[in-house]
């Protein structure tokens, strides 16, 4: 399950990153075309293909991050019986998923945004959320120590184990 979680989150991150780059290129290409520089020696992919790549990355990243998050939750529940929602990595990854779901919904169900420049801005913002989530994952012990769901849970588990031991000792006496 840990493997699925890692692969899905990595695929989602790559999709967000590609979407981000496609979005940047879309804006550059759009600016070139507005400035009537079509046909010059500097060439970028067409607006149509950049827009399509951007939308595909948005959907792909939403699905992959969703799968990754669900896999992470299942993994934590199996191992520890609970999820450390307060972990910064988990929190920011959840925020990234919520944002991606919102952005995908906006892209496909809000008509004026359909196939427009707004989708590009949404993907660019997704890149920002990805950076936040990465910082959250890389600056904490998320995914590094298998036995630590979170420090609070660790204290709770240690306390309950101690109480059990005390109860057992009193029972012997």
């Amino acid at each position: 399950m840990a493997f699925r979680h890692a692969i899905a989150m990595m695929a989602g991150s790559i999709a967000v990153l590609i979407g981000f780059l496609a979005g940047i290129m879309y804006l550059v290409q759009s600016r070139r075309l507005k400035q009537k520089r079509a046909g010059s020696s500097f060439r970028l992919p067409t607006l149509e293909s950049l827009g399509r790549l951007n939308r595909r990355c948005l959907v792909g990243s939403t699905i992959a991050v969703g799968i990754g998050l669900i896999a992470g939750v299942v993994m934590n529940l199996n191992r520890w019986g609970s999820v450390g929602w307060t972990d910064r990595g988990v929190l920011l990854s959840t925020l990234l998923l919520v944002w991606l779901l919102g952005a995908t919904g906006l892209e496909y169900f809000y008509a004026p945004a359909s196939r427009g420049r707004k989708a590009i801005y949404l993907t660019l913002a997704s890149g920002g959320f990805l950076v936040l989530a990465m910082i959250g994952v890389l600056t904490t012990s998320h995914g590094q120590a298998e036995k630590e769901p979170s420090s609070i849970e660790k204290v709770g588990q240690a306390t309950s184990a101690h109480i059990e031991r005390l109860d057992a000792t009193e029972g012997i006496r």
Partner: protein, 425 residues
């Protein structure tokens, strides 16, 4: 045999004269036959396009045809004065004529340098000459070499790759930066005039299949739509057509814009702000320029496209020296091969003459010394000595002749050899 060219083009003759001297496709065949009847051992290829008329001819020998003969033939074909032909048309002969043909075929002499049509027109003229039997060994080799030279220019320079007409730049360079393909795009073309027709041609080449032509004169729109397998719509449906359009092209002659921003904004909302490319090829403009400032709308006017054309023209000019270098190399190569070929019969006759002399002298010697009674190896050795003598004697003049041929027979050694050894014509 010497290639001669008499002709005129947009560079040196007015359109009125070109109209008078031009040939229709039927007239070309008749002219070729008439030329062959007048000069039976000649070869002729006639190129007649809207921008040039050029007649490439060669006689059976160098004295059979000259400039006046060809000029008087052309004058007779069009009931003109031969002096007018001589005055108005340029004349090239020998390597100059070959280089001119290579330059024309490579489209370096065209009105729009680098246009692809001229090579097919040259090929077509050569095919007509082949079919009518008026092409011969020299015209075969020179027109095939012209095709090779033109292909080399195409491959080794980018002179043909830059578009220089407004509709070709609009469709080939601007639309291709916005859309992957025009195959599944709704194209709405406003106007059914000359510019509209030319644009349609490029749209079809680019793969556009869903084209709607809209024009104030509906009949004209229908006629053009039928020619290009497109749809037509009434002028009143313009706004409805704009809503469905991905590519909107204006080529009308309307004096006021046919679409302003205020009218377009609700239509754009109806389109859900879908990507729209507008190519305004009309003068005065068909679309208000402020439409191009809206999100997801890209508007290119004729001035924007014209500047792209000028930029491409400048790029082509940069390739010009490279292309000219290819042409001069190909001309030199052709002339060398041609001159070398011309020395072949003379060398062969000289060798035959030497062999005859050798045989006579050898027979005389064998009879006199009764060599047949001796060892055959001695007879063979004597024969070998004769051969070596001939080869040593002929080597210096033949080497000089080859060098002279490579330089275009400047020193006239071929003629000298012919006369010195009495080799005949």
């Amino acid at each position: 045999m010497k290639l001669q060219m008499i002709g005129c083009s947009h560079h040196d003759a007015a359109v009125e004269f070109r109209e008078k001297i031009s040939f229709t496709s039927d007239q070309v065949g008749q002219a070729l036959n008439a030329f062959r009847q007048r000069f039976p051992s000649s070869e002729i290829v006639l190129i007649s396009t809207c921008n040039r008329v050029e007649l490439y001819a060669t006689g059976g020998n160098d004295n059979e045809l000259d400039r006046n003969d060809v000029a008087s033939f052309l004058a007779d074909q069009h009931q003109l004065n031969a002096d007018e032909i001589v005055d108005q048309m340029i004349y090239r002969a020998g390597s100059d004529a070959v280089e001119h043909l290579f330059t024309v075929a490579s489209s370096l002499d065209s009105m729009v340098v680098g246009e692809a049509q001229i090579l097919s027109q040259v090929k077509q003229a050569y095919d007509v000459a082949c079919n009518s039997g008026s092409a011969g060994p020299l015209t075969h080799s020179v027109f095939q070499a012209a095709n090779r030279a033109a292909k080399r220019v195409q491959q080794e320079t980018s002179i043909h790759r830059r578009r220089v007409s407004v509709p070709s730049v609009a469709v080939g360079e601007v639309a291709t930066e916005v859309f992957d393909t025009l195959h599944n795009k709704r194209v709405v073309l406003c106007g059914a005039g000359e510019m509209g027709e030319e644009t349609l041609r490029y749209l079809k080449q680019a793969g556009a299949s869903d084209i709607c032509i809209i024009n104030r004169s509906y009949d004209r729109a229908v006629a053009l739509a039928n020619t290009f397998s497109a749809e037509s719509a009434l002028w009143d449906d313009l706004q409805e057509q704009i809503v469905s359009a991905d590519l909107l092209i204006g080529t009308t002659s309307a004096t006021e814009p046919i679409l302003d921003e205020a009218t377009f904004q609700p239509l754009h909302a109806k389109r859900k702000n879908r990507l729209l490319l507008i190519l305004d090829l009309a003068v005065p403009r068909d679309f208000e320029p402020s439409i191009g400032e809206l999100s997801n709308v890209y508007l290119y006017g004729i001035d924007d496209l014209q500047s792209a054309c000028d930029r491409n023209r400048r790029e082509r000019q940069k390739e010009w020296p490279k292309a000219k270098q290819v042409i001069s190399e190909e001309t030199q190569r052709f002339m060398q091969a041609f001159n070398h070929k011309a020395t072949g019969p003379v060398i062969q006759r000289l060798r035959e003459q030497a062999q005859d002399l050798k045989k006579d002298e050898l027979d005389r010697l064998i009879n006199k010394l009764r060599l047949e009674e001796l060892d055959p190896s001695v007879q063979k050795e004597i024969e070998k000595s004769f051969d070596r003598l001939i080869n040593k004697l002929l080597h210096p003049p033949l080497a000089s002749l080859r060098d002279d041929a490579a330089e275009g027979h400047r020193r006239g050694l071929l003629e000298a050899l012919r006369h010195l050894f009495n080799l005949g014509e």
